[in-house]
């Protein structure tokens, strides 16, 4: 076994070297798009707290409930987000409603803080609704760009990775204090939602 891997080593080294030496075209002017449309979409998600926080809350909630919930959220949310985004691409204009954003924070954070025993069906419905709503808003915002659909793919990819990491991390938690820490994070998200709700009323 050992001798076989030694035999293949030069071959692997050659393949790696070939890839490294392969001269790719230099995109010196990605300045305007950052790192390309795929990464623009990915970064859009990662730097948008109004998107990332509800997704994180849902992933943590699914993780607290167990692996099957995590798996369901892992595939439902990105797919729903993609469909919502594709529908949003054709929308001329739309405006995110501050009350709905606050409601997502409040509901998902509250469920997480309470360690609510939500059923698999409810988790799936929440993931689908969250994905379609936020995906539609993102799609509508990105629709003005020609490469929006590629950007949407990057965004969905980021969501998939975040849910996979966050839910898997929580599923593994066994210590009581660790699970309580996750619930405390939920209470913070819900508290932020309450403040956002007040803000939305003030600026209405």
């Amino acid at each position: 076994m050992k001798s076989t891997s030694r035999f293949h080593l030069p071959l692997y080294a050659f393949i790696v070297l070939a890839f490294v030496m392969c001269a790719l075209p230099v995109d010196a002017h990605l300045y305007s798009t950052g790192m390309g449309p795929f990464y623009d979409g990915l970064m859009h998600f990662l730097i948008s707290p109004e998107d990332i926080v509800p997704v994180l809350a849902l992933a943590l909630l699914a993780g607290l409930r167990g692996a099957s919930y995590g798996r369901r959220a892992l595939f439902t949310l990105p797919v729903a987000w993609l469909f919502g985004g594709l529908a949003g691409l054709s929308a001329m204009t739309t405006r995110p409603h501050p009350f709905i954003a606050a409601a997502w924070f409040l509901m998902l954070g509250g469920l997480l803080a309470a360690d609510a025993k939500v059923s698999l069906r409810v988790t799936t419905a929440l993931a689908a609704l969250l994905g379609v709503y936020h995906g539609y808003l993102d799609g509508a915002g990105m629709g003005q760009f020609e490469t929006a659909s590629v950007g949407l793919l990057g965004l969905v990819f980021a969501i998939f990775v975040l849910i996979a990491l966050a839910a898997a991390f929580v599923v593994r938690l066994r210590a009581d204090w660790a699970r309580i820490a996750v619930r405390v994070a939920g209470s913070w998200i819900a508290a932020s939602g309450l403040l956002m709700l007040g803000w939305a009323v003030r600026t209405r």
Binding site: P98, V184, S187, A191, S192, L194, L195, L197, G198, W199
Partner: protein, 202 residues
Amino acid sequence: MNRQRLDPLVRAMALTVFVFLYAQTAFAHPQKGEAVGFLTGFRHPISGLDHVLAMVAVGLWGAQLGAPAIWVLPVAFPMVMAFGGMLGLMGVPLPGTEYGIALSAILLGAVVLFEVRPPLGIAAALVGVFAIFHGHAHGTELPPGQSALLYSMGFVIATGCLHALGIGIGTVHRWSWGQKLLRVAGGLVAVGGTFFMWKAFA
């Protein structure tokens, strides 16, 4: 032997130096209002000593009472405080806010000083009632033109960190000298609260 002991320290120091030397990207033009919103929100609870005293005292009391109060109280406070903040933002009046805040420091300091152990519901209710005053004051003082989401998150995270600080200090409760130290800290919080009450009346 000494070399073995020093190695991790030297490695940690080298890592720290490299982290500080690492050139970060300068964002000269952050998205309008957003970065400012988070920092403003984060700074708000820690900028007033009256708020800081009460929030740290909640953590100290939670640590004294042990589980489940150690996590119920720090969860109850930000939630109810955010509710008070929402009322303040909506313009719902709450009379005597400054007195309520000062009284919270006095009473929370006193319960730590005398190591009062009420049932969990009463402890949570006491903390919750005072949290409304703190939240309302923050809500009405909110600066205009900030990002609601980032401001709210910064605000809540800072509050949670203050509770965590109190809980962290409260871990000395396992030792007898630590129990005395916590009671002294509670006394200091109560004295601070008395000062702020005097200021509110003056």
